[in-house]
Symmetry: C2
Subunit: 193 residues, 2 copies
Amino acid sequence: MPRAGLTVERLTRAGAELADEVGFDQVTVSALARRFDVKVASLYSHLKSSQDLRTRIALLALEELAGRAADALAGRAGKDALAAFANVYRDYAREHPGRYDAARFRLDPETAAASAGVRLARMTRAVLRGYDLSEPDQTHAVRLLGSVFHGYVSLEMAGGFSHSAPDSTTSWVRIVDALDTLLRDWPAPVPAP
Amino acid sequence: MPRAGLTVERLTRAGAELADEVGFDQVTVSALARRFDVKVASLYSHLKSSQDLRTRIALLALEELAGRAADALAGRAGKDALAAFANVYRDYAREHPGRYDAARFRLDPETAAASAGVRLARMTRAVLRGYDLSEPDQTHAVRLLGSVFHGYVSLEMAGGFSHSAPDSTTSWVRIVDALDTLLRDWPAPVPAP
DNA sequence: GGCATTTGCCTAAGGGGTTTAGGCATCCAC
DNA sequence: GTGGATGCCTAAACCCCTTAGGCAAATGCC
């Protein structure tokens, strides 16, 4: 009986593909074992647990996202950079919905701190260098961008904007435009009454 | 052996409480049966399936959210209405994280169309009546607000903004301010180059 | 109050997914 | 070739979901 050649890397990659096909929450050690035509218990020499598998897929997805973002930002600034960065999120989610969900998987703090998520956060700040924001406004803006990108993409993935005019891409473009306008003219704090 | 007095309503309410305690994805027919000190199979005379339970919790959460939103919007307009509406989402998510997740549960189209979700959508449009937007910009704005509210709340729930300055409430207030500014001066479409 | 019917909760059982323990075959180094 | 490490296996326990069929409590009718 020849060996299947399982490795953590192959399992993680296959898990990511599985996530895109059937949804991240349907990624299961059992399904993965079936895909490799191997008994379930065999995977436990490579993976600590089902949770471990999901964490690895999440880290892979964050890595891929950060890679794409770095490519997109290279040589761009200002609104150009903002739009490119925004599209990285949306395009990744559309191409790899399961992986995108994985990237949103709740990691424990240490794992998160060692993940490509911090690179993504740094790049968000880099995008904002094209605008004239100083602390703490820059942090507010980072949070706003994260919220809009994640919120829009996740509502779009859930089907919220389908079957209704105007089409989703148009709204997306207009929203990115609007964010650019807003960042260029970020309002001062409203004085307490 | 006295009867437990199970009804769909009690089960749904208890499921919602369970969701707030252990997380919506941990809401399980088994856990619910334990809570009522009843055998699992007994719940199946009241619930069609585990999916059915989750759907009912989602509908309850949407109903509660819509109710709070209606209260919040009564007698308010403009930025006042915007801020109140925004806070409904955030406050609800902070008070009832499990229910909030439930409200984001993917419903099949007919169920969604009959849910309080459509009331929420109408109220979002009502908030925008305080601003001078005509179609299709109003739709873009509806989508932007949905994205920001959902995105911010979900990142905040995931712990994204904790343990870092400035505190999350400050960012939230400033972001709502910024949205008000943006809606008041919504940019025209950028002409194609 | 007695009786029939409905209703509600139960036992039983089958199908998955997760995880651990321990065994045998395969692969590699020497 | 042989010894050891490694990789995949069987076995088994535990939890969750779901259906089928049974007994008992509640309800309604007289």
